[in-house]
């Protein structure tokens, strides 16, 4: 069973915000939605949450359109976060919990677990406006997860988080995924997409430019990158047929290759008997690179 979006199209005036988008997320899967601002991510989420109706296409939850019962099991973290500043942590949780069909006693016990698990500095009776930014972010995350959503939608969840909260967020998303929930999130940060998502979908001006399994997408570009730490000059490396460019990276360099086979030539050239090589790693291009090249490519196309 899955959440399925089929041939969704949404137009605002003359602008096509989302153009013939199809995707599906199965139980226990994470889908990363990538795209620049204005690519159609937020519009997609809004259609998914039934805030706006698509002009064409359908959205099915386990084969049926959205109902209040389905809605209750959807957790949503909007891009711009918001809590009732003048309410206590507990008040918010009780309200959000009740809206999601939780009993107040359950909310109270769950809240205690969550507060200690996420190491929130503060008591349930503290008002949100007294919390630090980092703690408020944690409370926001608790509000989204406390009722164990079956579908989790996160709009730019890592924006504005400090490294500690970023890893907490990652951890909680993975834990929820392991319980069988479906998760859709959007991000600018490719590292997080790479780490979390099983599938990804790249949008450009409403059009789907890439879609599929994260690993498969990367592999499809071929292992045309070599990370190298070795005692050899750039000039010597560039002299090898098939090496197109060299950029410094970390302690070593990244070589851009014309094709996978060039990797063998490079390997043979650097691994001479008297030349110790601490690092040689041939990989597909990073998602970040793919994102850039794909965005650039379609820019030319348009």
């Amino acid at each position: 069973m899955a959440v399925e979006l089929q041939n969704l199209t949404k137009q605002f005036g003359p602008k096509v915000a989302v153009d013939n988008l199809s995707l599906s997320v199965n139980d226990g899967e994470v889908l990363g939605l990538i795209g620049q601002n204005g690519a159609g991510k937020t519009t997609t989420f809004r259609m998914l949450l039934d805030f706006i109706k698509p002009d064409h296409g359908s959205i099915l939850f386990d084969g049926q359109p959205i109902t209040p019962a389905i809605r209750q099991k959807i957790g949503f973290l909007p891009e711009e976060r918001g809590l009732y500043q003048k309410w206590t942590i507990e008040q918010q949780m009780l309200y959000f919990g009740e809206l999601h069909g939780m009993k107040s006693a359950a909310v109270k016990t769950e809240l205690k677990h969550w507060l200690s698990r996420l190491e929130v500095v503060g008591k349930p009776t503290d008002k949100v406006q007294t919390l630090s930014k980092g703690n408020a972010q944690k409370v926001q995350l608790i509000a989204t997860l406390i009722f164990q959503p079956k579908l989790l939608i996160l709009d730019e969840p890592f924006t504005g988080l400090d490294p500690v909260n970023t890893s907490l967020m990652m951890r909680e998303i993975k834990l929820l995924r392991d319980t069988g929930a479906r998760i859709i999130f959007s991000a600018h940060n490719m590292a997080s997409v790479e780490e979390l998502s099983d599938h990804l979908l790249m949008l450009k001006n409403g059009k789907t430019v890439l879609s599929g399994e994260t690993k498969a997408i990367r592999e499809s570009f071929g292992r045309t990158r070599v990370y190298l730490e070795a005692d050899i000059s750039d000039t010597d490396l560039l002299a090898i047929d098939g090496v197109e460019a060299i950029t410094p990276s970390n302690l070593g360099r990244v070589l851009k290759l014309r094709d996978e086979a060039t990797g063998h030539t490079v390997f043979e050239r650097v691994t001479t008997p008297h030349n110790y090589v601490p690092a040689f790693m041939q990989t597909p291009p990073s998602l970040d690179e793919i994102f850039r090249t794909e965005v650039a490519a379609t820019e030319v196309e348009l």
Binding site: R46, L49, D50, F51, P68, A69, R71, Q72, I74, G75, F76, L77, P78, E80, R81, G82, L83, Y84, Q85, W87, Q91, Y95, F96, E98, L99, H100, G101, A143, T144, I153
Partner: protein, 406 residues
């Protein structure tokens, strides 16, 4: 599964009912009433009962009797035989003054330090009557003849009305009540229009709205908020009824409460029912309008400005209701009585003064009901479309565009 709108309504109600500002609003008119009643009682007691002036009458037992019988003069009376005694008592402040007869005239002597007063005009009238009776007796004129001589001309005043269903005192009671309700209603309305606008603008500007809408729906949020705030308004009214009833029971014998009771006892049931229904419908109408406008607001600071036209609208009816007494059959007021947002103050006032009848009131109510239903229906569409949009345009420009699009 519980209805989401009910959860929203309950939460709105629960949070506000616990807030200090709510109780300030509820209690401030009561405190004002209690204060003014207290002030009235204070002044009333300062010049009555225990502090009644004591007036001594020298050597005139017949006059004393006559004064006691007439009861018009609010003093304690004492019959004293000699002037010296009376002078001593006045010095000792046992009495506040004395009345002595010199030849055919009377002399009133009062102490300069005394805090209480003796009504001289009343005393003069009684003395004149007393003297007239004595003279009549001397002239052998009978009591009946004297009465015939002195009887004043009676001028009967009668007002002719189209509708004579309600009696005169009824009319007074109804119109007093309708003005009172008009003032109270205006204050209450301003407060709740503010509350609902603030609630919605807060959720929209702090982006909580997206989380709420994800869990429920625009309809649940819109209707839930209106119901919640409506319940707060009804609670306030019920509290006043309870406080009022309690005051009647506790201070039942107080003169102010007694006069209030006579006013209320003359209120006709049909008038009360029409007024209450119209006020409730009007509150619903205004709350819906405020909710729609608040959905267009981007942040909290705009709320005040945004609801201002709503308060002006409420003010129109409020002001017109005062003009009614002067220009009861003015065509504009006649038409305005059927206009929703205004009718709730005009119809009760005109009904109270007998300027309109029940059929007209029922028509006005029917129009109100239709408008409320339409507003709830189309208001939801505007709300749903705008509550997640953050437009740079002014609110009323947005409204105009929305209406044109329709």
């Amino acid at each position: 599964m519980k209805n989401a709108w009910l959860i929203v309504a309950k939460q709105t109600y629960r949070v506000r009912i616990k807030s200090l500002s709510y109780w300030m609003l509820v209690l401030s008119p009561l405190l004002l009433v209690a204060f003014s009643i207290g002030l009235g009682l204070f002044f009333a007691s300062a010049s009555s009962s225990s502090d009644k002036a004591t007036l001594a009458i020298v050597e005139q037992p017949q006059l004393t009797q006559a004064l006691k019988q007439s009861k018009a003069l609010d003093v304690k009376l004492k019959d004293i035989s000699t002037v010296t005694k009376v002078k001593n008592q006045l010095k000792a402040e046992d009495i506040d003054g004395y009345l002595v007869k010199t030849n055919n005239d009377y002399q009133l002597v009062t102490s300069a330090t005394g805090s209480t007063t003796i009504n001289q005009a009343t005393l003069k009238t009684i003395l004149t009557q007393f003297k007239m009776a004595a003279t009549a007796q001397a002239l052998n004129i009978s009591a009946e003849k004297l009465q015939a001589l002195t009887a004043p001309v009676e001028l009967k005043v009668q007002e002719l009305n189209q509708h004579d269903a309600t009696s005169d005192s009824n009319q007074g009671a109804n119109s007093t009540l309708s003005i009172g309700i008009g003032v109270l209603f205006f204050v209450i309305l301003l407060f709740y229009v503010q509350i609902i606008a603030q609630e919605i603008a807060n959720e929209k500007s702090s982006r909580i709205m997206e989380i709420l809408l994800a869990a429920t729906s625009a309809a649940s949020q819109f209707y839930g908020k209106i119901v919640g705030v409506f319940a707060l308004a009804v609670t306030q009214m019920l509290l006043y009824v309870i406080f009022g009833g309690g005051a009647l029971v506790i201070f039942g014998n107080n003169s102010i409460v007694r006069s209030a009771r006579t006013i209320f006892s003359n209120v006709s049931w049909s008038f009360a029912v029409v007024t209450i229904i119209m006020l409730l419908l009007a509150i619903g109408m205004y709350l819906t309008l405020a909710a729609i406008i608040a959905s267009l607001v981007n942040d909290q600071s705009q709320v005040q400005q945004a609801v201002q036209p709503v308060t002006y609208l409420a003010m129109i009816g409020y002001i017109l209701s005062f003009i009614i007494a002067q220009a009861p059959h003015n065509l504009i007021i006649n038409i305005a009585s059927y206009v929703p947002f205004i009718s709730q103050t005009l119809i009760p006032s005109r009904l109270a003064l007998n300027f309109t009848g029940m059929p007209q009131a029922l028509i006005a109510i029917a129009i109100q009901i239709i408008v409320v239903i339409l507003m709830l229906k189309f208001g939801l569409k505007i709300y749903a479309r705008n509550v997640l949009e953050y437009s740079d345009e002014s609110i009323y420009k947005q409204l105009r565009q929305l209406i044109r699009r329709k």
